[in-house]
């Protein structure tokens, strides 16, 4: 997946927007910080979420972290492969390791996300801390 076509959140999620729906995963930076992912707690399809609500949990050996809904909408699909192969989040975070898909109620919320250039600057800021 071309990283320049994606949008990014400050919580290190990537968002692929296409046809009024979004696909969400975590970035390479996030999977690296998490370490070995051993379980992904996925939301039920149909669940209504507001932007910023916790949608899924990624459990690594070390810790647990939330994946937030980047927009307001409903869960339309989850990556069922993660049930048996949670390590896909580490191995292929931008591809096979995607986490869930959502419908988008307000397209304007997408504008609050970062493009690749801004996200890379954001990462540089974190590294410099």
């Amino acid at each position: 997946m071309a990283k320049e076509n994606l949008l990014y959140s400050k919580d290190h999620e990537w968002v692929l927007s296409a046809g009024g729906a979004v696909t969400i995963g975590v970035t390479d930076y996030a999977q690296h910080e998490l370490g070995d992912v051993v379980f992904v707690d996925l939301p039920a399809a149909g669940k209504q979420l507001k932007k910023g609500d916790p949608a899924a949990n990624i459990e690594s050996v070390k810790a647990v972290s939330d994946v937030y809904a980047p927009v307001t909408g409903a869960i339309t699909e989850v990556n069922a492969k993660l049930g048996a192969n949670p390590e896909l989040v580490n191995q292929d975070p931008f591809g096979e390791g995607w986490i869930f898909k959502m419908s988008v109620n307000q397209a304007s919320e997408l504008e609050e996300l970062m493009d690749l250039k801004k996200y890379e600057e954001y990462l540089k800021g974190i590294a410099g801390e």
Binding site: G35, D36, V38, F39, D41, E59, V61, K62
Partner: protein
């Protein structure tokens, strides 16, 4: 933040550094799972210099040690080690520790990093009436743990001590990479392995760690961090002070009755309370559990037994070798039998756990 003398080596090896008990230590190098599996199948090298070393020396060293620990140090000979509790009057833990008998009238007590100052003050206070000198020499000593099936071969390349005949919980003194050291067949992982205590400057300490890691490549042994140390000890059901044992749970409740020698000659702190509790019986007990439902139960997650809230998970993780979510918790005695089910709150969900046999993992000897 405090630095162990091995600190520089962690940066050279690109460890992911975190603060632990005020120390700058690596949580991992290559990854918790990888390091955990290395220790189970080949070997791992850990910097555990943050641990504390307190010496008891003098005519009444044994009496003083006997007075403050739950186990029976009179059974030790020079070169032998015992695991014991340092207990409060009520039979709970001030800390857990290892007692090394160096020679007659000289003992080394190895304590947890978080408790060094507290333990030292406690020991000095309660040893005051004995003819013994109690010295905290934690700052002087570095400690490296080499753990796993290849540990003996790897450490042997550096140690001028014949390790093969050394039994579990035995130790010897000799030179390791030219430095005077104490080498014991002990560890906190459930595997065979050694712990090396030595005094040196930072350059020599870092060099030994780097050389062990370098030579370790031959055996597929890896440097390993605090993350793997925690998952390894939990699979082996080794208690962690501050999680599974503390100053509000007794030795009997912690299911560590084997470190209690209630009939030893020298009375010890906590003995009366524990004798009483042994007669009256305990009401709760530390048990191992695994999750029946999906999820991972971690330290502090609330427990419900038959609809009644009952404390929290003391330690919990995904066990990298067993590939299951495991943990420890205190349960009411009547609900602590193997197979008993209870609930753990994981954020907004409630999942079922069941009591299982421990240790979760036991190596084939």
């Amino acid at each position: 933040m405090k630095k162990t003398k091995i600190n520089e080596a962690h940066y050279i090896l690109k460890g992911k550094m975190v603060e632990f008990c005020g120390w700058d230590l690596p949580v991992q190098y290559s990854g918790v799972n990888t390091e955990h599996m290395a220790v189970r199948t080949t070997g791992g090298i850990f910097d555990v210099s943050h641990m504390g070393e307190v010496w008891f020396r003098g005519r009444e060293a044994l009496k003083a040690v006997q007075h403050i620990i739950s186990n029976d140090a009179s059974k030790l000979q020079p070169g032998r080690i015992q695991y014991a509790g340092l207990l409060t009057e009520s039979g709970c833990f001030v800390d857990d520790l290892l007692v090394y008998m160096m020679k007659e009238n000289e003992y080394l007590l190895v304590v947890n990093a978080a408790n060094i100052e507290k333990d030292f003050q406690w020991m000095k206070k309660h040893a005051a009436r004995f003819d013994v000198l109690v010295e905290n020499r934690s700052e002087e000593y570095s400690q490296i743990a080499v753990q796993g099936p290849t540990a003996e071969k790897l450490v042997q390349e550096f140690a001028e001590i014949d390790l093969k005949p050394m039994g579990y919980y035995h130790f010897a003194q000799g030179r390791v990479q030219g430095m005077d050291a104490i080498v014991s067949r002990t560890g906190y992982t459930g595997e065979d392995g050694f712990e090396i205590y030595f005094k040196s400057d930072a350059a020599a300490a870092s060099k030994l760690f780097l050389d062990l890691a370098g030579k370790g490549e031959k055996y597929d042994a890896l440097p390993a961090g605090l993350g793997a140390r925690d998952t390894l000890r939990l699979e082996a059901k080794m208690a962690l002070y501050g999680n599974d044992i503390d100053d509000s749970h007794t030795v009997l409740e912690a299911d560590l009755g084997w470190i209690l020698k209630l009939k030893k000659e020298e009375p010890f702190i906590g003995q009366e309370a524990l004798l009483r509790q042994k007669q009256e019986g305990i009401r709760r007990k530390l048990v191992g559990f695994e999750l029946v439902d999906q999820g991972i139960a971690r330290h502090g997650y609330p427990i419900t037994v038959q609809g009644r809230e009952f404390g929290a998970v003391t330690s919990g993780t995904f066990a990298p070798f067993l590939r299951r979510a495991i943990g420890l918790a205190y349960l009411p005695l009547e609900h602590s039998a193997i197979g008993s089910e209870f609930q753990v709150g994981i954020r907004e969900k409630t999942v079922t756990a069941k009591v299982v046999e421990t240790p979760f993992y036991k190596r084939n000897k």
